[in-house]
Symmetry: C2
Subunit: 309 residues, 2 copies
């Protein structure tokens, strides 16, 4: 049940109404593996600069992530800096310094090429395709993307779509990609371009899974304190892919359960800065949270006959 992720490993400087974290470890592959590691052994492909802190590497090692695909190059690590609005509903990017990430050419180690489950984090779709050319026979390939690629590399992104089984993206990205404001129609439009499974992430409003034959809704976990939304989507993907890899199948039941585990892991990610929540998160807390999701979604039909009238 090997799980491969290719994506960014970065240093984030984040300001939220609750404080500020400077050069904290982040990046899509970091959040993804931090979450996925609770389910399976994860293989990471990425690049860091000479300045990437020992503590970051040690954290990933502590999560039992296979780092043989993590290259360290002379130069600076990818750095992102942003500030969130008072209600955390939007954020402004203050600075992006690609550093060694500008030259990133994913090289998949031989020992990773038989990975059954593959997640292509949010990087240039040309690089995502390049990864697909290196893996042999995955059970499932899922990808993420963002508005930057939808606007700037649309054709390449559409080529990628024709080669993946699943895409995870947020609601505004689904609308922009399809040119349709209606989310159901947008998902059908995307499915027609390739991915059988479309997962639309809606932040505090939860996530929706569209399969060829069904729709599944997961609510956003009702946290009373959201500390730092950075990485929630990547932790969601890590929980989802990790859960799928453990179950080993792609039935509706597997996919739905995976969306719930993804939602749970995303909800943990935002409880602290950076990947800090995954430093002490216990398996029992994850199981408790997914049960809480179930408690928040069950109801009974039909209406009983009221005998008192």
């Amino acid at each position: 049940m090997s799980l491969l992720v290719v994506g960014s490993v970065a240093l984030d400087t984040v300001e939220t109404p609750f404080g500020r974290a400077e050069d904290a470890i982040g990046g899509s592959a970091t959040y993804f593996t931090a979450a996925a590691s609770y389910f399976v052994h994860t293989q990471l492909v990425g690049v860091v600069g000479a300045d990437f802190p020992k503590g970051g590497i040690e954290f990933l090692q502590s999560r039992d992530v296979d780092l043989s695909g993590l290259v360290r190059l002379p130069g600076k690590s990818f750095r992102w800096s942003g500030v969130y609005s008072f209600d955390l509903s939007s954020r402004e990017t203050l600075d992006t310094q690609l550093g060694v990430f500008a030259e990133f050419q994913p090289r998949i180690p031989e020992s990773f090429r038989d990975a059954e489950w593959v997640f292509l984090g949010n990087i240039d779709p040309a690089l995502q395709i390049d990864v697909l050319d290196q893996v042999r026979n995955p059970r499932l390939v899922a990808c993420d993307t963002m508005n930057f690629w939808i606007e700037g590399k649309r054709d390449t992104l559409l080529e990628l779509l024709s080669r993946v089984d699943m895409i995870l993206l947020n609601d505004s990205e689904a609308r922009e990609l399809s040119g349709d404001h209606n989310l159901s129609r947008a998902a059908r439009w995307i499915q027609a371009r390739g991915p059988r499974y479309v997962v639309v992430k809606k932040g505090e409003h939860g996530a929706v899974l569209f399969t060829p034959t069904s729709v599944f809704f997961a609510p956003g976990y009702p946290l009373e304190e959201v500390f730092d939304p950075t990485g929630a989507g990547d932790a969601f993907a890590g929980g989802m892919m990790g859960s799928l890899a453990v179950a080993g199948g792609l039935d509706d039941a597997d996919l739905r359960r995976a969306v719930i585990y993804g939602s749970a892991m995303g909800s943990f990610a935002v409880e602290r800065f950076s990947v800090q929540r995954f430093e002490d998160l216990r398996n029992g807390e994850i199981e408790e949270r997914v049960r809480h999701f179930r408690d928040m979604m069950v109801f009974e039909l039909p209406i009983p006959v009221n005998v008192n009238v």
Copy 2:
């Protein structure tokens, strides 16, 4: 299982990307009873002008609504006119003419005063309180409100809150009323002012029920065509209260089921202009839709052990 609603009966002129309806029957009490009538006999208290069309009255009669509390006064009916944005996510009010509604003083007929289930549609909170002074011993009182009263009659609205069991309001109203952007905290704030049950409507993102001990999420129904969002919230309330009245209880199971029936009725309301969808909606379609809600929300735990690894 008598259900009483007090609210507006109006003539709406609505423009959406799909067309325009002129002087179509609308108003909170109209949408509410149109939906609730599929569950129980409904008692309506409201006012119309001399110009209110015979067809509107006949529609309500066809839904078996008790109109002994609907007063007709000389003058014009309440008229609202608005235009929706291309994606239906926002609307602009073009004109509001209160007409006879400006003088509305709800008089609850003697035969309505023992109503067990009472819904106070979105009108001046002073009038909502006035209704409460006229009913005798309701099982449940629920109310709606809007930003206009939150901003303009806050103290009266808070007095009302201390006297109701349930409030239905949308997410922006919950945030404005509580002064808290976090929806969970906002709901707790409102509960502390009186209503045990807070139902937050989030449009396409569904609805959330907060009880003293639990949270329940209902998704928005994934319609590919939304024709006219007017009245969705009132039809939601009608379905919810109607379902509660039929079941006759206030257990968690009753409340959750009612939120689903409310969501279903709200989703039907937007499929056509005005209350047109309720002219031919069949009970079987309602049952089919609530089963579809269940299909979109079920999942299995825990992760099965994958024997193939």
